[in-house]
């Protein structure tokens, strides 16, 4: 920690020298600009879902089910994973109260994991400090709700590139690195979860788009809610308390997706986030000073509105670039500055009462006294604020007034239509399978691993179904060729399309 502090002090000294010159001529006692937020323009946001405004968006991220699937009931003592293996898209796995020691992985679309809560008793996934992650999914349209998750070493619930997800009403206690971590997904809701005791972020949205994080209770963790390298995210109506840092909007350098923008943080309680930092050494969050309410690092177009931010000892809102943040690498492909930060009305109570020395030093450069509510270090371009006179601020005197006072026009960034299914266009299917798979072993005339296409054509010219059936369960036909591996992972329709395409090849 000592080394990190030195780094910050050096960086701050540089900023301080610069800022000192910049702010010296400002009149500290000018009349405050008072903005009435009862009326005024609404912030438009960065994501245009639809030009025309229709009925209020219903907050559902998963695709509607048109056919009722099966419900697989899992009782205490049985295996959830066994049910997942049996399930097909459209099915629901209903898990009865009890304790389950397993990792549940879902590499299928449209599966719902629904815990049954009976008189306060939950279906509990217990990793016993031995298992890695509780639930991993990579499918689209996954719902996970009403589960209790505890004592895993990795993550509670982790999504890897699943779109259209809903994760709600889960209790996650003392579970490894992240409580809920959807990564590389589009269109998802994380709501009504109670998460505590996480050594990184309780809720961590990574490299994702169109996300809604609402009504969660997150506490006793290093970070409460983190929006990282993601766009079009709303974080609202959460209770974020007793973490090291409350709500984070980050660009983490070195990740393959380089931006964070259009994030709205509104109507949250961000209280008493003073917990000792217990993050793993070297992790990005291990550099967060305990007592940070909201932390914006390098993220652009972040709106902070109508939060009640109280009792965070370092500061209510901390805005920094990569240069001044400890524990970050550099990335020549990402912009290190948090630009277009928009601070609208917020209630700030008793923040910054035991702030870090760097903040005090910065305050000196602006001849300010008191406990900082808002602290900006490093570069931030085109940022704005309203009613700045209400707060003790550092580094934002030259910010503009915002041209709007609220985000009321934006209900949600959840898509009206869920992300489309991952289906290969039926007219293309034959060609794609032939080129992507068959061509690895068959050429038109020559001998490769399998016999030439010409010979297959001669045998099956009017019988594509014959090929489709054969490739599902091939038998050894030719002494001088190896046996073909089964292609039964392709459905019957796809196999037939590939067969027809193969028979139609001319070269």
């Amino acid at each position: 920690m000592g080394k990190k502090m030195n780094k910050i002090i050096i960086a701050v000294a540089v900023v301080g020298a610069f800022a000192g010159g910049l702010y010296f001529g400002n009149n500290q006692n000018s009349t405050p600009v008072i903005t009435n937020s009862d009326s005024g323009a609404s912030y438009g946001g960065g994501f245009n879902k639809n030009a025309q405004v229709t009925a209020p968006t219903k907050k559902s991220a998963v695709a509607k089910r048109t056919v009722a699937g099966k419900t697989h009931v899992v009782n205490d003592g049985e295996s959830i994973m066994a049910a997942v293996q049996l399930a097909t898209p459209g099915d629901t796995i209903q898990i009865m109260p009890g304790t389950y020691h397993e990792t549940v992985y879902i590499d299928k679309d449209d599966i719902r994991i629904v815990g049954v809560i009976k008189e306060g008793k939950y279906a509990t996934l217990d990793g016993q400090r031995k298992l890695n992650d509780a639930i991993l999914y990579s499918g689209n349209n996954i719902v996970i709700e009403n589960m209790r998750i505890t004592q895993y070493k990795g993550n509670g619930i982790m999504g890897q590139a699943g779109n259209n997800f809903e994760i709600r009403n889960n209790i996650i206690v003392d579970t490894g690195v992240y409580g809920i971590f959807p990564q590389l997904g589009q269109n998802g809701i994380v709501e009504y979860n109670v998460i505590s005791g996480i050594e990184d972020a309780a809720i961590y949205v990574g490299m994702s788009d169109n996300i809604h994080v609402a009504h969660n209770d997150v506490f006793d963790s290093v970070a409460g809610i983190e929006i990282e390298n993601s766009r079009h995210a709303i974080v609202e109506n959460n209770y974020v308390h007793n973490n090291t840092g409350g709500i984070l909007a980050f660009i983490t350098p070195g990740l393959p997706i380089k931006t964070t923008f259009d994030v709205i943080i509104r109507n949250n309680f961000v209280d008493n986030n003073n917990h000792k930092n217990f993050a793993a050494p070297g992790s990005t969050v291990s550099g967060i000073p305990a007592g940070t309410g909201i932390l914006i690092m390098a993220a652009d177009e972040v709106v902070v509105e109508n939060n009640i931010i109280s009792n965070n000892k370092v500061t209510g809102i901390l805005i920094t670039d990569h240069e001044n943040a400890p524990n970050t690498t550099i990335d020549p492909e990402s912009d290190p500055a948090p630009d277009k930060v928009m601070i609208l009305n917020n209630i700030m109570l008793n923040n910054g009462y035991d702030t870090i020395d760097e903040a005090k030093a910065l305050m000196l450069t602006e001849f300010k006294q008191g406990n900082p509510d808002i602290l900006r270090v490093g570069v931030s371009r085109d940022s704005c604020i309203i009613n700045r006179h209400r707060y003790v601020t550092v580094g934002i005197d030259n910010w503009k007034e915002c041209a709007f006072t609220n985000t009321d026009a934006i209900d949600s960034y959840i898509l009206d239509e869920p992300v489309a299914p991952r289906e290969i266009d039926p007219s293309e299917r034959g060609k794609v399978v032939y080129m992507g798979i068959c061509a690895g072993c068959h050429t038109y005339t020559g001998r490769m691993i399998g016999p030439p296409v010409q010979i297959i054509q001669a045998l099956y010219m009017d019988n594509p179904q014959g090929i489709a059936d054969y490739i599902a369960a091939p038998t050894k036909k030719r002494e001088d060729y190896p046996e073909m591996p089964p292609q039964n992972y392709l459905d019957a329709e796809t196999r037939l399309a590939a067969a027809k395409y193969m028979l139609g090849r001319k070269n």
């Binding site: 293996q85 990792t103 992985y105 590499d107 890695n132 992650d133 991993l136 990579s138 499918g139 689209n140 070493k153 990795g154 993550n155 982790m158 999504g159 890897q160 590139a161 779109n163 490894g176 690195v177 990564q183 590389l184 997904g185 589009q186 490299m207 994702s208 788009d209 070195g254 990740l255 393959p256 997706i257 793993a280 050494p281 070297g282 992790s283 990005t284 240069e323 524990n327 970050t328 690498t329 550099i330 992300v419 489309a420 991952r422 289906e423 293309e428 060609k431 794609v432 080129m435 992507g436 798979i437 061509a439 690895g440 072993c441 050429t443 490769m448 039964n488 992972y489 392709l490 070269n507």
Partner: protein, 402 residues
């Protein structure tokens, strides 16, 4: 070595004469069809080109970056070369004529049967000395936009000029390369066919043809891919266990070796040790020397793909580890355990102390084996326009001794 050189040249020349006698110009015809998995597409008024067709192209991914889970689209890629350009690239790739003294070809260090890599810790160039780093695999390079371990090239064309003209690698010069190719009647004809709009053979055409060939090295049809497309029986129980450890947030392998390519094509500082006696390699710090805080990239290297990884031992940028198990163990031994005492590195945040058990590490290794797919390995030419031995003499000797 210096004494041997004229002898080698003489031998090369002799074999050249015999070969050209045995194989006339007409024996070398460039392909008119695209390689497997590529569709021949004609655009009006232009020569037809080859476009990759693959199941992954029908999926989506966040921001179109081609990263994520099982059913995720691929990143942008290079294709659109003509069959003739790809085939010319194949001849060039295997032809030792491209090196200073005709002793080695691209394929000497990027051998098809070794995952387009070699079995050396650091490759050996024309001088017989070892070069700075290990030869990386060429599978799926069509999808990359950073090349070399230290990411100093941004395109395959730029990359090709590295080994061609590095004195320790192929040792050639653009002038000599151009002169040699122009003096070869077979190549003159081939280049004219592959680049019909160009007036004469230019050295840039060599880079394009090599790019065209390398962009055809596609490996996306492994047993893992079948699992990813939805056929879960394609992997054994142990391999699925391994996959789940691989992508778990304890091992965190998949955070950088992200499917479907099993690389995120970023730089990572992981603190991997050098073989005994080697100086610390600063990697990407040198590439970004002009950037502020470039010391934060000290010891940083490009995250390599893990496809066909079982074929490319030894591992890491300078071949420190012979076995995949040892690589996995490196990650499990704890953050910074192998960093030299006098080095201060900004280690990647995912490098931590996962404390994997031996069994878990072995399961990861088991899973990695399911990423093998060499079904689109191109045919090695039987003879070359130069008349030189295909790949190189050493390779031919190895073949004849086997």
């Amino acid at each position: 070595m210096m004494k041997l050189l004229p002898l080698i040249l003489l031998l090369s020349l002799m074999s050249f004469i015999t070969m050209t006698l045995a194989y006339g110009q007409d024996d070398f015809a460039l392909a008119e069809d695209c390689p497997p998995s590529f569709e021949f597409v004609t655009v009006e008024g232009k020569a037809g080109v080859c476009r990759l067709v693959n199941l992954y192209q029908f999926y989506d991914s966040v921001q179109g970056r081609g990263l994520g889970g099982t059913q995720t689209s691929l990143p942008e890629h290079r294709d659109g070369f003509t069959p003739a350009q790809i085939d010319l690239g194949r001849y060039l790739f295997f032809d030792p004529l491209l090196s200073k003294d005709g002793s080695i070809s691209c394929a000497s260090c990027h051998q098809p049967d070794k995952g387009f890599s070699d079995d050396l810790d650091r490759s050996i160039g024309v001088t017989g000395e070892k070069v700075g780093r290990s030869a990386p695999t060429l599978w799926n390079v069509a999808f990359l936009d950073k090349f070399f371990w230290d990411v100093r090239a941004k395109s395959l064309e730029e990359q090709a000029q590295g080994p061609l003209f590095d004195p320790l690698e192929m040792g050639n010069t653009p002038e000599q390369l151009l002169a040699t190719l122009r003096a070869n009647t077979v190549y003159l004809k081939m280049f004219a066919q592959a680049f019909p709009d160009e007036k004469e053979l230019a050295v840039e055409q060599v880079y394009i043809a090599l790019t065209a060939f390398q962009a055809s090295l596609i490996s996306l049809n492994s047993r893992y891919d079948r699992y990813a497309h939805g056929y879960h029986q394609a992997l054994s129980e142990n391999e699925i266990k391994g996959l789940n450890i691989f992508r778990s947030f304890v091992a965190r392998c998949a955070e950088c070796h992200q499917p479907p390519l099993f690389t995120n094509n970023q730089i990572a500082v992981i603190g991997t040790p050098e073989p005994e006696g080697r100086d610390f390699d600063i990697g990407a710090q040198k590439t970004y020397a002009a950037v502020e805080n470039s010391q934060k990239l000290r010891g940083g290297f490009k995250v390599p793909t893990l496809r066909n990884i079982t074929k490319t031992a030894p591992y890491m940028h300078s071949g420190k580890f012979d076995k995949l198990f040892d690589v996995v163990e490196f990650y499990s031994k704890g953050r910074g355990h192998a960093v030299p005492k006098d080095e201060k590195l900004q280690l990647h945040w995912h490098i931590w102390e996962p404390e994997l058990t031996d069994e878990e590490m072995q399961l990861i290794v088991d899973f990695l084996g399911s990423l093998n797919d060499e079904s689109l390995t191109p045919e090695i030419p039987a003879h070359l326009p130069s008349g030189l031995p295909v790949v190189d003499e050493k390779y031919q000797l190895r073949l004849s001794s086997e």
